[in-house]
């Protein structure tokens, strides 16, 4: 099947998509956007988090066809040209990135949190990021990064 979808503000078309493909597969393998990561493929880890019509979802559990005529924003679409989004900058500065596999999903999820709740409390940050697993950092630096980004927005 053919899927027409707006990705990071651009109208895109993916051809010969197999019905059983996920949105994640389509983004990574057909549309050249490997930012969102493929890890658990079960909705457990959040590394595949992208915006679908302005709300973050696990792209691994979205069938490609469900994205038809909708709008997707991936981690690649957060920066303005060379200017990183404040959330991305804060992750770098706070040292919240180790192997980096979980980072794109966390950045998108934190970006959404700060859009909805500009000054989240620590429990609010923890709850908002509960669906994003990180095996490296122990999360403390990630919390630092979100607090830092909140203070700058």
């Amino acid at each position: 099947m053919r899927v027409n979808v707006t990705v990071n503000g651009e109208q895109r078309q993916a051809d010969d998509v197999w019905e059983g493909e996920s949105l994640l597969f389509m983004l990574r393998e057909r549309l050249g956007l490997p930012g969102s990561k493929n890890a658990c493929e079960q909705g457990e880890c959040g590394s595949c988090t992208v915006y679908l019509d302005n709300v973050p979802v696990c792209a691994c559990l979205v069938a490609a066809g469900q994205a038809q005529d909708r709008s997707v924003r991936t981690v690649e679409g957060l920066a303005e040209g060379d200017q990183l989004d404040p959330v991305q900058e804060a992750f770098v500065e706070a040292g919240a990135v180790q192997c980096g596999f979980c980072t794109p999903g966390l950045v998108v999820q934190a970006h959404d949190l700060l859009d909805r709740v500009p000054n989240p409390s620590d429990p609010e940050i923890r709850e908002a990021l509960a669906g994003n697993l990180c095996r490296c950092t122990g999360y403390e630096k990630i919390l630092d990064a979100v607090r830092l980004a909140a203070s700058r927005r």
Binding site: E19, G43, V57, L61, A63, G65, Q66, D112, G131, N132
Partner: protein, 325 residues
Amino acid sequence: MHAFDYAAASTVRGALDLAGPGSAFLAGGTTLVDLMKLDVLTPDRVIDVNALPLKGIRLHDGALRIGALERMSDVAAHPVVRSVHPVISKALLLSASGQVRNMASIGGNLMQRTRCDYFRDVTSACNKRRPGSGCPALTGVNRNHAVLGTSDSCVATHASDVAVAFVALDAQVVLRSKDGDRVAPLEEFYRLPGSTPDRENVLGPGELIAEVVVPVLPWARHSTYLKIRDRQSYEFALTSVAAAVDVKRGVVQDVRLAAGGVAAKPWRLRAVEEALKGGVAIERTFAEAAESAVDGARPLAHNAFKTALLKRTIVRALLDAAGAR
């Protein structure tokens, strides 16, 4: 994943026409896509129903009506839901993760499948997935399994949180097929496993859940959902309790209670409700009444703790709902 055809329906009629034995409706996909990847579900046709007009959250004729395609996150955040039936909002916010709630629908939530690991693993036997193949959970790893409503064929829990809140509140589901609409109390919508654990509910082939209807109960403004789990967030329940209680002058006038994580379906605790009515709203009354919650329980090798945990969860939920702490 098995091959299937994909069709997007734009009208209810169109969706029902496309449906038949072997087809599956696709709402958020957080259960269906997951289980198709594992080959646990192998529909030959997937019908995307997201464009159907089964949306809306409104108060009408003394009931809160929630369209089956409303997303968990939208229902949880809705001001009417939060003020009229806070227990629904709480149960949803304690479910899954933000990302999953943004995608998952209420209808899909009621239809989600058990999290029994043997069910999810096609290399293992399972009476629910492959009728007659046996139930390895009976003698295997069964810490997360049910103690109430089980059978010798299946001891799986129903995993939905919000269904527990709905059952406590006497919610009904509107079911839509080519023959028209019918209405069923959600409690009776679910079947007990008996000898046919593969038949989980009364939905006919190609029948849709259209709407959930929750009668308004003025005193259910004081309602709560307490979920006990292995970690603080993003985990299924070991035990959970939805509670609404009407206390006047320190005496329980009326009460609604249901439990999750412990039973083959969302479990209404009627005997406990009866024992509470007319009692003084203090911890001792709650604890005495909670005893009958586990009448007939059939604990397994690894989950006997659930009977004690359930009783304590009931007491704490009642104390919260009664504002006693």
